[in-house]
Amino acid sequence: MISVRNLIKSFGKLRALDGVTVDFHPGKSYALIGPNGSGKTTLIKSVLGMVIPTSGDIVVDNEPVMNHWHYREKIGYMPQIGRYPDNMRIGQLFDMMRNIRKNPPLLDEELIDAFRLNELVDKRMHTLSGGTRQKVSAALAFMFNPPILFLDEPTAGLDPVSVELLKDKIQKEKEAGRLLIITSHIMSDLDDLATEVVYLQEGRIRYNNTIDELKDITGESKLGKAMAKMIRGLEHTHFPPQGGTKGGVILNDVL
Amino acid sequence: MNLLKFHTTLVLCLTGISVCAKTILVDPAGSTKSIKQAITQAAAGDTILVKPGIYREGNIIVNKPLVLIGEGRPVLDGDRKYEILTIHASNVTVSGFRIISSGVSSVNDLAGIGAINTDRLVIRDNEFAETYFGIHISNSRNSIIENNRLSVSARSEYETGNGIHLWQSTQATIRNNHVTGHRDGIYFEFVTNSRIEGNTCERNQRYGLHFMFSHDDEYHRNIFRENGAGVAVMYTRNVTMTYNLFEKNWGNSVYGLLLKDISDSKVTSNRFIQNTIAIYMEGTSRTEFSENIFSSNGWGIRLQASCDANTFTRNNFMRNTFDFATNGTLVLNSINGNYWDKYQGYDLNKDGIGDVPYRPVNMYTMVVERIPTAVLLWRSFLVFLLDRAEKVFPAVTPENLKDEYPNLRPHDLST
């Protein structure tokens, strides 16, 4: 479980995160949504330890994130753009990652098989298409059976067949009780993969509840429509900075 | 008959001393135990043969023509008090001894062997150790000093005198000696028509060779290495120096060869290797420098403005930090036909001679001349740029100091 408490991150004058408090629970799948510059990436990077928060706490399974790195054994991360050293072979990349992860005995190679990456182990990174690199990123994220998965735009740039393969895999891991945090601009994907919605705007959490709840309140059957309706509603009102389930309650009042 | 016999003996005695000269044996175990005793007994022309042993006899004075021969290298010990051998006669030969521990006195110039007013003195095959002066000769003619080894382990130049010191002499030959640790290795003052050849002077406190007012002398095939101040040649005319090696004379004001007020001389076929300044010259005129090798020196030649009418030709300048330095702008010397490894010109007509002149005075040399500390920036990019700028717009370097016919290849100088 990831627990974020009153997280503030400033870049100079800009407040990227302005008091974020949120919990992510195992077995649930979160869609992290927000407009560009809303703080999504900063939030993910804070949890991954790439961004050092100005104040606030992040705890992953009882281990504080600040100045620690062991907790990241539990996290698989699929970046939005996977860029790798040009002349590195896929096989070398996997070998290096396994080495960094201290060569665990149990490896999840389902995606490697599904994407047929085994046939490409000797290919160098600069010879790969963007889609293939994305497959490599996905395979790496799942390889070490992490209980927590961060997937940043996982389906972007993938061909339709691969998108389905990846979605099946995500679905499977969700059912296996992993904690998933997914960002995507494709609402239909999130509709399939996520159970919860965390909506960020201007560094604050504006909505945090299940997708079903959101659909109920808005009376829409599609996540995309429901989101659009909610965002329009938000624009006409002021919310207290605090997120959490209360957001849903307030939203009820608005609508 | 008797008269005839007498005549024969007389003739033989007059023509060659060997016939009637006798040999006196000095032996600690024999009847004549001291050299002094033997000299008293000896007649002119006798030979004194000294057997192995240590002879502490204070100051031994040789006042008649004698041949002193050490057999099995007997030791003459001066007990740090006396001049060991003092020679006042002509036709004296001293050889085969080990001469140690003379007295130290800068007033009396005590020596291992001192000689005054002699003719045809021969000092050969001796070893000198810890003598104040090694060999000190004055007012003599036709001296031969060869195959001696002189060494001192003094710490400063004030604790020791010169190795081979000649004053007011003529027609001396100094050959194949080895001098180390003395103040000056070989010292000449008012010594004329003499030859110094095949000697090695190294690690002496001051100069390997130091001579003044010594005209018409020749120096061949000597080695001067790692001496405190190199070699100094001063106030002299008509000197010839050939095939000598000047090596590793390092330090501030240390010169491979210092020339001061020299004229009508020749410095040819010498090698100057790794000296701080290979040749420093002031007041030098009409002297020829040819077929020398200047290699890996700090400065090849440092020429003061007081020099004129000297010629430098067919020399090889290689790997020197600075080939040529001068404090003047007006140059009255000729430096044509040398090889300079820094020359970057071309040879279109393929005659082996560069088509554009070479200017051996580097711009930065002039800077270092004024500010010695600036040598620390040598070979930096900044200095490289300054040097290029100077080559395009000459401002500091003397315009007419140039080699009009620089050789493209090193001259073949076998030494």
């Binding site: 590195m88 | 790794q274 300044i277 700090g298 010695p372 620390l376 070979r379």
Partner: protein, 255 residues
């Protein structure tokens, strides 16, 4: 860390730039040996390359490489591993590959054509300068997030140490020429790694001239191994301090 170093090292060795750099050094060195029979003159010409080109290439290439590897470094940081390990791994990989290129380009022909002590000093200086300027490059890279700005800082470092510093030094020497400044100038020289490497070479090529320098202190310094030991130590400081500073900044930096 070794696995990271190994694969990043392999990767850099195959980049076109490093191949060209190696080739350039190889061709120039061989050409110099072919054109000139005097090894001393070859060493002199190579010295200019070592003092000018090697630092420039090292600092610019390392800075560009750092920014090109940004996403990859991010991915590595999402793994359970200390930031320091990643940073130092990158440093060593870049430094080793540039040293390798230099040794292959200059050292190999030098050994083939026969090198003396000054040749080995040259190789040593080149390797030390490579390490110093990679170190400075990593410092410039963490000082800013902007690639162009970082390259600007890197070029400024190079320009400063290659030219500006010596200009200032010359000015000081000229202005205070009547004062005994020997120790001070020597100290000032050691504040510049390029000058130090140059002094190391001067100790080989121009020892006769340096010995003509006033003062017993200098004679002792230049005449013994003291000069070599001193300059090596200071160069080592020049390698360690910038990379240490960069590491400190990097561990607290937001990516």
């Amino acid at each position: 860390m070794t696995r990271v170093i190994k694969y990043v090292f392999y990767d850099i060795l195959r980049t076109r730039f490093i191949l060209l750099y190696t080739l350039f050094l190889l061709v120039s060195t061989i050409a110099m040996f072919q054109l000139d029979t005097d090894t001393g003159k070859v060493i002199l010409s190579l010295m200019n390359i070592v003092l000018m080109v090697v630092p420039l290439v090292s600092i610019v290439f390392s800075t560009i490489h750092f920014f090109n590897s940004y996403e990859f470094i991010e991915l590595l940081l999402a793994q359970p591993v200390n930031r320091k390990i990643i940073f130092l791994g990158e440093y060593f990989a870049v430094a080793f590959s540039l040293c390798f290129a230099f040794v292959a380009g200059v050292g190999l022909p030098m050994v083939l054509y026969g090198a003396d002590a000054s040749g080995f000093t040259l190789l040593y200086s080149g390797i030390m300068l490579t390490l110093v300027f990679v170190s400075l490059a990593f410092l410039s890279s963490v000082l800013t997030r902007d690639k162009a700005k970082a390259i600007g800082i890197a070029l400024l470092f190079w320009f400063y140490f290659s030219l500006i510093y010596d200009g200032l030094l010359m000015w000081i020497i000229y202005t205070f020429m009547d004062y005994p400044l020997e120790k001070i100038t020597l100290a000032l020289v050691s504040l510049n790694p390029v000058d130090l490497a140059r002094i190391l070479m001067l100790l080989q090529l121009d020892i006769s001239a340096l010995m003509g320098y006033t003062g017993a202190f200098y004679k002792e310094f230049f005449g013994s191994n003291l000069g070599l030991i001193f300059s090596s130590l200071v160069l080592l400081v020049w390698i360690v301090i910038p990379v240490w500073g960069a590491l400190r900044i990097f561990t607290k930096k937001d990516l």
